[in-house]
Symmetry: C2
Subunit: 146 residues, 2 copies
DNA sequence: AGCGTTTAGATTGTGCACGATGAAATCGCG
DNA sequence: CGCGATTTCATCGTGCACAATCTAAACGCT
């Protein structure tokens, strides 16, 4: 029942440390880490509805709506209601948002370097964490006990 | 530059999934995950000053002060200024706080099961993440570039 | 003793993260 | 066609997480 014996705390610490690293790397771009994740999806896929962002990032509207509002306020994205379905809001990059991609080019490798892991360790850990996330999500998906 | 290719996103997702699992497990105790981490330290060490909690959890006063205030409001801990150094605040368990330990007994194994990893994978991942956290922290400790 | 410095902690402001609720548009079924 | 159900998104409230600022107590140096 000790703190450092539990993987959870390691996970929690590592996640916060990495977020802190992104904070420094993204500060020149004026982005936070979750905002950067949204930009990654948009750079890859182009315009997507809010719901697809929510699914890709596993975040709910309560988190994404104000986040997208801030991204829009700073001119990185635009939100447009889709004419063929007025419920849906399409999030698309502005020119500034497209241009940001250049400024963010070096970030993934910088983060990779800072982590100080071998290529194999990176891949292995990524795979294990994906399995872990899936397993935990499955447990959480069962309504009552777990 | 894809989302799922990056360990960071795996880390971020896994951390949030595990926190969600704790949310469910801790709900009967009326604790959040960070509050539970504080309780773990107190159950292990007894009364400690706020600064030691901050160091153990790698959180700053801005996070801990209100968190401890809430823990005190619900009767799990007490905060007492130390007479021999009035700057320092000692956080100690109340009787209710001590008693909570019993209710929390099953949580670590429940989490371990939900993660669905082998004992070796758990240990290995914990070790890799500790190294990663240290490496990132070292980079962040260097003032400007990284 | 006097006074600047350091230390321990609290407070404030911003931005996630999530549960709960609400509102509008669309769909489906009789 | 009418109307309840579903889908899509926004809003609100609570609780982290962190940077910046502030306060008060203790320390150190002359």
């Amino acid at each position: 029942m000790l703190l450092d014996d539990q993987l959870c705390f390691g996970l929690y610490s590592a996640s916060r440390a990495v977020t802190g690293l992104y904070r420094r790397l993204l500060e020149p771009l004026g982005l936070t880490y979750p905002q950067y994740l949204v930009m990654l999806v948009l750079w890859d896929r182009g315009a997507v509805p809010v719901g697809q962002l929510a699914e890709a990032l596993q975040l709910d509207y309560g988190t994404l709506s104000p986040l997208l509002k801030r991204l829009e306020a700073q001119g990185a994205v635009r939100r447009v209601r889709r004419p063929e379905d007025e419920r849906s809001v399409l999030v698309e990059l502005t020119e500034d948002g497209v241009a940001m991609r250049e400024d963010a080019r070096g970030i993934p490798t910088a983060v990779g370097r800072a982590m100080g892991l071998t290529r194999d360790e990176l891949a292995e850990t990524r795979a294990v964490l994906a399995r872990l996330t899936g397993s935990v999500a499955a447990v959480l998906a069962t309504p009552a006990d777990g």
